[in-house]
């Protein structure tokens, strides 16, 4: 499989000032709102620690919690299915749809379904899946994946959406007011809701104690998809389970505040069985998660509650845009998660990091993302999946740093070279650093040289 080159894929976004600046500004605003609402809760930091520990406890007893959840969900009248991988997930749902003669589906957001390629699978079999979340629908109409796990089209400007809706939905290309564009989407989706055969959604949390699922949206799209048609199908990864109903309070309090800086989502909804005359199905999916659980180096990625706080704060993500990762999960959580799906394909992602550590500070469940970035780089080096250029640099570095003589000589050579190599050569592409920086002029002497001079001229009070 072709390796994803995040640096190359971010080039066009980095050069596009209007898109990049708006993206950066909007995500940073979410981060600032997050700080403000978090500051107003005295127990915030304690809640993060508790949420982390509840997740760790649950993951360490995941089999028993899943069994408890299943037992209670079945008692609530929910059909529970288990899928080892994406293929099984899609087959199970297709079979349910075929049995119910489903033609039209409206769907709330689900990263898992994206991960499984569910929409494409159904499309090939004649089942129309309409994304019902505005951002997700924009991306579907534009034939692009989501660029952010909470705001899928946040890399676009209103003009992009205006052009897209004009082309696909017949709206006025001269109007780009987000209120107008939302009303276009609303009217268009109603056509689907009034003939919908089945609704779908992802799952934010599955409560073992009560056997039900918690699904949050701001638009109400998952609620309509679940409450209108005679069939509702939800999918969840095995890691979504939480033990007790009372735990939901903790996670709900953390989720939306971390995600967008709001106290709660407009619809924080719980499904504990089908309504009268309805069928409700739930597919529990592994797709590599149990393998991740068994990897002591990075199992805590499974604590993630998909709030996207790490993306909103990440200086690399905010400037490069989510599409540059060419992955289902992007930004900080993406770069420590995607290599476990395909090490070779995503081998360059753990380098899309400036080591500021901000993601680790905002994560509501304390996934040690900054540490995991280093973990993955180590794994990549151990398995010789790091870039050849990195390896040569490291080997050279090791050689130079191994003796003070070579270090001193190396520094001298390098400093002189930097002084005398013409600027044109330095910025010709040989030196990738010069793409976004201007190298400072190197000092005339090394620190050691300066220090030695001081020793000769100083009175050396310390040595008296």
């Amino acid at each position: 499989m072709k390796q994803v080159n995040q640096v190359k894929l971010s080039e066009s976004f980095l050069k596009d000032d209007a898109h990049r600046e708006s993206h950066d500004k909007n995500l940073w605003a979410a981060r600032m709102r997050r700080d403000e609402v978090a500051r107003n809760i005295p127990e915030w930091e304690e809640m993060r620690e508790l949420a982390s520990r509840i997740k760790m406890h649950t993951l360490a007893n995941l089999d028993t919690y899943l069994e408890e959840f299943e037992k209670n969900a079945l008692a609530n009248g929910i059909h529970v299915h288990w899928a080892k991988d994406a293929q099984e997930h899609n087959e199970i749902i297709y079979q349910i749809f075929a049995e119910h003669n489903v033609k039209v589906v409206t769907k709330g957001k689900s990263m898992l379904m994206d991960e499984c390629g569910m929409r494409e699978y159904m499309g090939e079999r004649g089942i129309e899946i309409y994304e019902a979340d505005l951002g997700e629908r924009i991306q579907q109409l534009d034939d692009e994946p989501a660029s952010h796990i909470v705001m899928p089209a946040i890399h676009k400007l209103r003009g992009d959406v205006s052009r897209l809706f004009a082309e696909k939905l017949g709206s006025d290309p001269a109007k780009d007011d987000p209120h107008y564009l939302n009303s276009v989407m609303r009217a268009d989706m109603r056509k689907n809701y009034i003939r919908v055969d089945a609704g779908m959604s992802g799952v934010n949390f599955a409560i073992a104690e009560s056997g039900g699922i918690l699904v949050t949206t701001n638009e109400g799209n998952a609620d309509i998809s679940a409450n209108v048609p005679p069939l509702y199908v939800a999918s969840m990864g095995i890691e979504k389970v939480i033990p007790r109903v009372s735990d939901a309070a903790l996670f709900v309090r953390l989720l939306s505040r971390s995600a967008l800086g709001f106290h709660v989502t407009q619809y924080t909804s719980h499904y504990h069985g089908p309504r009268e005359g309805q069928e409700m199905h739930l597919v529990i999916v592994d797709n590599g998660r149990s393998e991740r659980l068994g990897a002591p180096e990075y199992w805590q990625v499974l604590k993630c509650i998909h709030c996207a706080a790490c993306m909103n704060t990440c200086p690399v993500y905010r400037r490069c845009g989510g599409l540059s990762y060419d992955a289902i999960y992007m930004g900080p959580i993406g770069i420590v998660l995607e290599p476990s799906y395909d090490l070779h394909k995503y081998a360059q992602l753990p380098y899309a990091c400036s080591h500021c550590g901000s993601c680790g500070n905002v994560c509501p469940v304390k996934v040690p993302i900054p540490e995991y970035v280093l973990t993955w780089r180590k794994i990549l080096v151990d398995r010789k999946e790091d870039l050849l250029t990195h390896r040569l640099q490291m080997d050279l570095g090791a050689m130079v740093l191994n003796s003070s003589k070579t270090l001193e000589m190396g520094l001298k050579v390098a400093l002189n070279a930097l002084r005398y190599i013409p600027k044109g050569v330095m910025e010709s592409g040989v030196n990738p650093w010069a793409e976004h920086h201007t190298d400072p002029l190197p000092p005339k002497e090394t620190f050691r040289e300066w220090y030695r001079k001081q020793e000769e001229t100083d009175e050396k009070p310390n040595k008296q």
Binding site: E67, A132, I194
Partner: protein, 197 residues
């Protein structure tokens, strides 16, 4: 995909999990954090923050009076209130899809949450959840004495044994998916008004 296959997947997934279990730690107790401050004031501020509206009344009869005076009876009104009849009922719908004709939906809030400005509704309280979601204007009556502190309080009183659908509605449906600009009236109801008494 036969049933046997998903049973075998179930067992192999659970077996894989058992093989992979990390070091166990105890399940921590979550303290019952308390809401500090004026519940009703906080509820109102938060509801406004989420673009919801509220009108306050001396008593329930006054709230009903408000509905009688302000809602257009020539439109489709779906009501679950015993003291305020609507113009359309469940019997008029073959399937929930038909609830798309509803203009106003009037129902009871089970309780309110001061911390978030949310109103808890369920499939029982709404009678037909689609009616609330498809409506243009949603009115929820709420007894002010039923505004509780925070979500920790809320999850202690929700009744998942008897509610297939239960949701914290917080203002009308909204989106910020285009340039993070907050827009109300996304997929669900366009306006939400709490009638507080």
């Amino acid at each position: 995909m036969s049933m046997e296959n998903t049973t075998s997947s179930r067992n192999s997934i659970l077996a894989a999990i058992r093989n992979a279990r990390p070091q166990a730690i105890d399940l921590p107790e979550v303290p019952h954090y308390q809401f500090e401050g004026d519940r009703i004031e906080s509820f109102k501020t938060l509801l406004h923050g989420f673009d919801g509206r509220f009108v306050e009344f001396e008593n329930r009869a006054a709230a009903i009076d408000y509905l009688n005076q302000n809602l257009d009876k020539s439109l489709k009104i779906f009501s679950t209130l015993p003291d305020y009849p609507g113009t359309i009922t469940n019997a008029d719908f073959k399937t929930p899809h038909d609830a798309n004709v509803i203009h106003s939906c009037v129902s009871e809030g089970v309780f309110g949450v001061a911390e978030t400005g949310s109103i808890w509704v369920t499939n029982r309280s709404l009678s037909l959840a689609a009616a609330a979601l498809f409506s243009t204007d949603l009115y929820l009556l709420l007894d002010k004495s039923k505004i509780i502190g925070n979500l920790h309080d809320a999850y202690r009183i929700v009744d998942f044994k008897n509610e297939q659908y239960g949701s914290f509605f917080t203002g009308p449906s909204a989106t910020a998916d285009i340039e993070a600009i907050h827009v109300t009236g996304a997929q669900g109801e366009i306006s939400l008004t709490a009638l507080l008494y």
